[in-house]
């Protein structure tokens, strides 16, 4: 066991290395590329045995990853944003092959407009694919989640690929102290790929991904993958328990931060939840009974744990770092759906969109969200999803437009319907 300062990307590479990764199909994309380069460096220097292959695209990369995992080796890969979307056909395909491997997604906003900075629209597009999803808030969690992910992915009751998500820049390029587990312990925890996992041999010919005719066999296989995903809840808990025994840290289904006695709870995923934690401490100092719940496992959705954590609360404010155009926040729908109709479900669940393309969420905004949620509770009426954007930001965009237009500058006064303070 060593403690080192690692970026999220390096932590991911360590996770793959300690898990005994044998094969890594890759394709470069910011902010993920450092993961691939770290692994390539280790392989070149003989510190890691494993095969890294650059494919022609992420679509090909995910295909190769799924095919190799189905054949019977331990596969690791990573992508981000446009890459994840480019691969989407295969992201939905390989879970049906029941190919267990681990893929890191370094979240980054998706075009248009094109950007490098983080939000969760990329990973949300993979939400219903059959991949399991673990969302990390620290570099340590990234490393730990990868070890855990292999355990769960390869479990005979699961056999599904896992996406481990971290935020671009905020985690990928931020150095944090990370405990690197002892290699032998990590090997013991993850276990070996067994011979039962190999396919496509002359002795065990296999047909995989075959066509079906009609809805009955189709539904059968789709339901099986769904049920395998649900099995992962139990396997997660089991594996987290053993992880705790070996490493003295416990991977969480959901993180509960000062939520037990709270009236109002923020719900967020990913590293921006750290901002919410600061806000919780500040608001608590002022007398607010407020807390945070952060789902770490998003697929399968730990509905019971979420319900347990939120039951009896007066108000919940879901802060989505994604935007489902024409609807609002994806997480808001997930949380509302998990709670609706259950006895003790919070009567007020407000929705906020923030942090798109890496936009900061300030302490003042967290306070405003608490206030809006409080008013909604009192009035018994939930406002529509609110898009976080300040007058100052609007003015800065206007200024950019004026610069672009030169003398044809637009009037700087706010136009109707734009922006909220």
């Amino acid at each position: 066991m060593r403690r080192r300062l690692l970026t999220g990307n390096q932590a991911a590479a360590w996770g793959a290395r300690l898990s005994g990764m044998e094969y890594a199909p890759f394709f470069p994309i910011t902010p993920q590329t450092e993961i691939m380069e770290t692994l390539a460096g280790w392989i070149d220097r003989g510190e890691l045995t494993g095969r890294l292959v650059t494919l022609d695209s992420e679509h090909s990369m995910v295909t190769a990853a799924g095919a190799a995992a189905a054949t019977g080796v331990r596969v690791f890969t990573a992508t981000s944003s446009q890459g994840l979307l480019h691969a989407m056909e295969m992201i939905y395909t390989v879970p049906g092959w029941r190919a267990p491997f681990v893929m890191v997604n370094v979240s980054r906003g998706i075009a248009s407009p094109i950007t490098l900075e983080p939000d969760h629209n990329d990973i949300m597009a993979a939400r219903d694919s059959g991949f399991l999803q673990i969302h990390c808030a620290t570099c340590q969690e990234v490393l730990d989640a990868i070890l855990l992910a292999y355990r769960i992915a390869e479990h005979p009751r699961v056999r599904l690929p896992v996406l481990v998500n971290m935020d671009g820049f905020y985690l990928s390029f931020t150095r944090e102290p990370v405990i690197i587990p002892d290699a032998a312990l990590a090997t013991r925890f993850v276990g070996a790929f067994t011979d039962d996992d190999t396919q496509f041999t002359p002795r065990t010919p296999t047909s995989l991904g075959v066509a079906v005719l009609g809805g009955t066999p189709y539904s059968y296989f789709r339901y099986q993958a769904h049920q395998a995903s649900l099995n992962a809840l139990e396997i997660f808990e089991e594996s987290a328990e053993e992880f705790h025994t070996l490493f003295n840290r416990r991977p969480l289904l959901i993180e509960e931060f000062y939520s037990e006695d709270a009236d109002i709870v923020f719900v967020m995923i990913g590293s921006f939840a750290t901002k919410a934690k600061n806000a919780v401490m500040e608001l608590r100092a002022e007398g607010w009974k407020i807390g945070l719940v952060r789902p770490c496992l998003l697929r399968p959705l730990p509905i019971h744990a979420i319900f347990k954590a939120l039951t009896g609360k007066k108000g919940v404010a879901v802060i989505d770092q994604n935007l489902a155009a024409g609807r609002g926040g994806v997480l808001h729908g997930e949380i509302t759906g998990a709670l609706y109709g259950r006895p003790g479900a919070p009567p007020t669940i407000t929705s906020f969109i923030g942090g798109l393309g890496g936009r900061d969420i300030s302490g003042a905004e967290f306070r405003e969200m608490a206030v809006v949620t409080h008013h909604a509770m009192e009035r018994g009426e939930t406002p529509p999803p609110r898009l976080l954007f300040t007058q100052a930001e609007l003015a800065s965009v206007r200024k950019m437009q004026a610069t672009a237009l030169g003398s044809h500058a637009l009037p700087t006064k706010t136009q109707k319907g734009e922006g909220h303070e």
Binding site: T63, A67, A70
Partner: protein, 303 residues
């Protein structure tokens, strides 16, 4: 061991390894070729398939193959082959498998995929010198979706999306593939089983990318009656519109040079898809196709 065992037609196996009862159309030239190929490659193989007519060969709960099968998607069969090959190699290196388990990894893909959205993955596989066999069965259109024109459709052919005849030029996939300098590239067709068998056997003993383009006469797509499928292949070769050749060691060699080429009109007339060429006023187009073929063969050195 590397000596060819197939020299004459009687050396070919009279038994079929692929089970009967597949859901392809009667007279399917692609299936005929896949049969011949499989008889040689055998069951120590995994066929990695891209979306197309052959995808339905393995339909749950049946497969006609004695060996393995992996259906991927339309654009990425060669990437699937990469993953399988790499994984098999790793397993062998680590002695988690025995060497007698050596497997051929075979991509089976249509022309629409191979000359379009699958080109990138296949090109990259050749760049990496992937040890695989790639078979593009060329029915000259997007067959599975009802025969729309693909970039492999020949000039003049009527398809579901070129009802007055296709005005593009058939993409030269052989040249594109050969430009990658893979181990081997060959054209074949099921109507010439000995030529096909020799090439497949030869390729099966090589390493690296071994690429095949197989003309696949397609009754519903080309508008001819199923019993004539073999004739279509014969005419294609004998008119010279489908040259049988191979690329090896940087050189292109023709494996069958028709002594006297049959006029291409015979081939065009035999298929309903070329009907637009026979409309009054289009005579020049047939002459142009003939001239194109003549120009091609004028550059081929006699064997």
């Amino acid at each position: 061991m590397n000596k060819p065992t197939i020299k004459k037609i009687t050396d070919l196996s009279p038994h079929r390894l692929i089970a009967p009862g597949t859901p392809t159309c009667a007279g399917c030239g692609a299936l005929a070729g896949v049969h011949q190929i499989y008889d040689i490659l055998g069951e120590k193989s995994i066929f990695v398939n891209g979306a197309g007519c052959m995808t339905l060969l393995a339909t749950y709960p049946f497969t006609p193959f004695k060996g393995s099968w992996l259906y991927t998607a339309m654009a990425c069969a060669s990437a699937g082959a990469q993953g399988v090959r790499d994984a098999l190699d790793i397993l062998m290196e680590k002695k988690r498998r025995q060497s007698d388990e050596a497997m051929q990894v075979v991509v089976l893909t249509g022309d629409g995929s191979a000359s379009g959205m699958g080109l990138s993955a296949t090109s990259a596989a050749m760049d990496r010198q992937l040890d695989f066999i790639c078979i593009c069965y060329d029915n000259e259109g997007y067959g599975n979706t009802g025969h729309q024109y693909s970039r492999s459709t020949p000039y003049g052919a009527k398809t579901a999306t070129s009802t007055k005849g296709f005005h593009g030029v058939k993409k030269d996939l052989f040249a594109i593939w050969a430009a990658h300098k893979p181990t081997y590239v060959a054209t074949v067709t099921a109507a010439f089983p000995l030529d096909l068998a020799k090439k497949i056997e030869k390729a099966s003993k090589m390493k690296g990318p071994r690429m095949f383009i197989m003309l696949a006469p397609c009754p519903p797509g080309w508008h001819f009656d199923p019993p004539h499928a073999v004739n279509m292949g014969k005419l294609a070769v004998n008119t010279g519109i489908w040259p049988l050749k191979e690329y090896i060691d940087g050189k292109v060699v023709h494996t069958l040079i028709p002594k006297k080429r049959v006029p291409v009109e015979a081939y065009l007339k035999s298929q309903g898809r070329f009907a637009p060429l026979f409309l009054p006023g289009n005579e020049g187009q047939i002459q142009a196709i003939q001239a194109h073929i003549d120009d091609y063969w004028a550059l081929v050195p006699p064997s």
